[in-house]
């Protein structure tokens, strides 16, 4: 699954650690999410969407 989490994070001027704290997960989880190597659980995806004020499908798009 692809996502634009890194762009949205940069837009807020946050570090990966800050975003991890906001979402209540580890920094490694953010790194793996941004690289597209980790698909988040539905509750985490909802928290990400809520944090950036958008829908889940605005952040995540199905991969090939």
């Amino acid at each position: 699954m692809r996502n634009d989490l890194a762009e949205r994070r940069h837009g807020r001027g946050w570090s990966q650690g800050q975003l991890a704290d906001e979402l209540g997960v580890s920094r490694q989880t953010i790194i793996s999410l941004e690289k597209g190597r980790f698909d988040p659980s539905l509750p985490l995806a909802f928290r990400i969407a809520a944090l950036f004020g958008c829908r889940i499908e605005d952040v995540f798009t199905p991969g090939d």
Binding site: A20, V25, S26, Q28, T29, R37, F38
Partner: protein, 134 residues
């Protein structure tokens, strides 16, 4: 904090001594030998128990609030479940090999081998997953 360290150490010594005494009690003719050897061999894990009881909650970084949604948790689950399947295969193949060769193996040896294999398997799988993500 010093009190907690002392409590952990004392817990380790007491638990190791209790295990040593219990081991000695099962063979009174070699009581002290068994007691000392078992106590010496279990003092490390016993201190680990003390550390868990008195120090784990106050040292190191606290886990994130949603630890079950982290990639580290996923790595652990994948490693543990794969290691379990490996263990079934190894135990099955080993059991068959022992039967064919008509060999006997002490239960304590077999259980120790199973535990060591499981630890090693999970550790290697966890390390590989972590390295791949790096």
């Amino acid at each position: 904090m010093v009190v907690r360290h002392v409590a952990a150490a004392v817990t380790g010594l007491l638990v190791a001594a209790a295990i040593g005494l219990a081991a000695g009690a099962f063979a009174p003719e070699e009581f002290w030998l068994r007691a000392v050897v078992f106590a010496a061999c279990t003092v490390g894990p016993a201190y680990g128990l003390g550390w868990l009881l008195f120090l784990s909650g106050v040292t190191g970084d606290a886990p994130p609030p949603h630890v079950e949604e982290t990639i580290e948790h996923q790595w652990w689950q994948r490693s543990a479940s794969a290691a379990f399947l490996d263990l079934l295969v190894v135990a099955g193949v080993g059991s068959a090999a022992l039967s064919v060769a008509d060999l006997e193996l002490a239960a304590s040896t077999a259980l120790a081998a199973v535990i060591m294999f499981a630890f090693l398997d999970v550790g290697v799988r966890l390390t590989v997953l972590r390295r791949r993500a790096a």
